[in-house]
Symmetry: C2
Subunit: 342 residues, 2 copies
């Protein structure tokens, strides 16, 4: 039996905080190396069959700790490449630059960027570098979190759950060889059509910090929390799943707004440490609220798809749907974390 | 804002402990009612298109709290029906009886049973009831956990991760209209070809108990834990992911044994509260150990597929594979939790 090492009060399946992302990528390569290529310097994950001639290349990225986003969404029908930063830390422009070049099939590149200051700045720099090389690049932003107007790492609203849906829908569009300009237009439409809000029951611990990102009393929860533990709207005493769901749905419904008769995709997401059994209890109430509001839920997604390490909690995303978006949603996808039809 | 109710120190997205399973099923019906039918008295989840004439009907079940198992595996290419008990409590014989009758397409029924005393006893009773009505029934057991020989709720070894693989593989076989006798034979082969072991970093809280199932000191982990928190082999001080993975792989490799040149499916499972980023770190080491051992990992699965509520931890399952099993693994499946090819 090897010597046992005590790595502090952090109970995580890791070897050392500084190797978490590298070793995760080595694990992804071991598991999915038949379909994905891992580039280690600079770090990015790409489709093994990229670049695909004549197809717009979709590239996303952001801090790690939100798995399966984004690396788990690389594959046919979704992203061409993803750039993982360190945990809760933006990736660098050179990662985005090299990833974009690696998947450039000559039809241009779309960057899908969550609205955090570091991500936006670095993707902007990468875009300039790519344009200097004559590569056409468009950016699509997600800023769907209705909880707060500005936040710890963000000017404007934060990009959260809608990002997963954006990557699926634009991925399907790119697979159909839709042009760069059209994908940009579709991305902007999706951006303006979706809203989210989340909450936390517990905090999470960034490995290199070694202690919880914030303290949450045993009998309190935080509504409107960000995916990095950024402050939300307010802390309240522990409540029932139905009450929590009401308090997430109400700000989403009124913000856009979503109106009687609208068709929507409803996405109930787990923050990482929440069991699926609880997400279905949340979905049950969210679906009832949507029905009472006159919405038609035409598609849905339930599971932990954009997480905050081991945080317990949930977020809800609603997206206006139409026939075109339903068709893109149903299109085949083959990634480690989202797969159907292939 | 509704009145906030303090439901104790349990931080769970639930309304009341006694309604957890019922409300989860209502959520599943709201989300997947196009494909699944929920029967509420007695409780079972069935394919909406069942019974399918001439196809063997596959029925499984067990205590809730292990989601997505089993309800999340009902659908084309996997289970015809699943019977959820209360959390960590066996379902009753009448659930199994009614579920089996509901999906009986005339080619017989196979019960997939994890080796826990209550599950085995109740499935045996249901089998007798079905046989009295002239329905042919076979049972396939899983008892793949190498950790301990007998356990809190088990005579013999516990059935754990192999159950997920069994349900996928037999589901694919049944879809090909393979006969009852052949599916029974295949199930027994799979049973004898797979081994698992798990570990916990933290405990979990059964809703109606309201307190953790067991206490685990802040700097200790438990190796060989069961999926209901049953005692494992031993508690040790917190260790690195690599050390933990070694201590899970070694007993698995030597038990069957798995020998140089063998083809295997490697399944790294999360216990519910473990982020995917950590599961890939475990997979990385497990794959390296398998390679050093001379094994060929021909298929894999990484994610939280058989859980223990919000327990943090992991389990590893290895299954001997051959061309026939690979073909069954790759066959289309369309369930809420496992889907490809459709």
């Amino acid at each position: 039996m090897p010597e046992l090492v005590h790595i502090g009060v952090m109970k995580k399946l890791i070897n050392s905080p500084q190797d978490v992302v590298l070793e995760e990528l080595e694990g992804m390569e071991a598991a999915h190396g038949d379909r994905l290529r891992i580039n280690y310097d600079p770090v990015f994950i790409a489709r093994k069959d990229a670049p695909i001639k004549g197809k717009v290349g979709l590239v996303s990225g952001g801090g790690s700790g939100h798995e399966p986003m984004h690396g788990g969404y690389v594959g046919k029908g979704m992203l061409d490449a993803a750039c993982p930063g360190q945990v809760f830390t933006s990736p660098t422009p050179d990662q985005m630059f090299e990833a974009s070049k690696a998947v450039n099939g000559g039809a241009g590149i779309v960057h899908i960027v969550k609205n955090y200051t570091g991500d936006v700045m670095n993707f902007d720099l990468a875009k300039e570098m790519l344009q200097t090389e004559g590569i056409a690049v468009e950016s699509v932003l997600t800023d769907d979190d209705v909880a707060v107007e500005n936040s710890l790492y963000t000017a404007g609203r934060r990009g959260v759950g809608l990002t997963v849906l954006m990557e699926k829908l634009l991925g399907a569009a790119a697979e159909q060889r839709i042009s760069l300009a059209e994908i940009k237009k579709l991305g902007d439409l999706i951006r303006s059509s979706g809203r989210s809000m989340g909450m936390a029951l517990t905090s999470c611990t960034v490995p290199h910090a070694g202690k919880p990102s914030f303290e949450l009393p045993e009998d309190e929860i935080e509504l409107g929390i960000g995916i990095h533990g950024e402050p939300g709207r307010h802390r309240v005493k522990m409540a029932t799943a139905d009450e929590i769901t009401e308090q997430l749905m109400e700000p989403i419904l009124t913000d856009l707004p979503f109106k009687r008769g609208d068709a929507v995709l409803m996405f109930v997401n787990g923050m990482g440490g929440t069991p699926l059994i609880e997400l279905y209890i949340v979905y049950r109430k969210a679906a009832a609220i949507a029905k009472a509001h006159g919405l038609k839920v035409v598609r849905n997604l339930v599971g932990s798809y954009i997480t905050s390490l081991e945080m317990a909690g949930t977020s809800i995303t609603l997206l206006h749907m139409n026939d075109c978006l339903c068709e893109l949603w149903d299109a085949p996808v083959n990634t480690p974390a989202l797969r159907w039809g292939i």
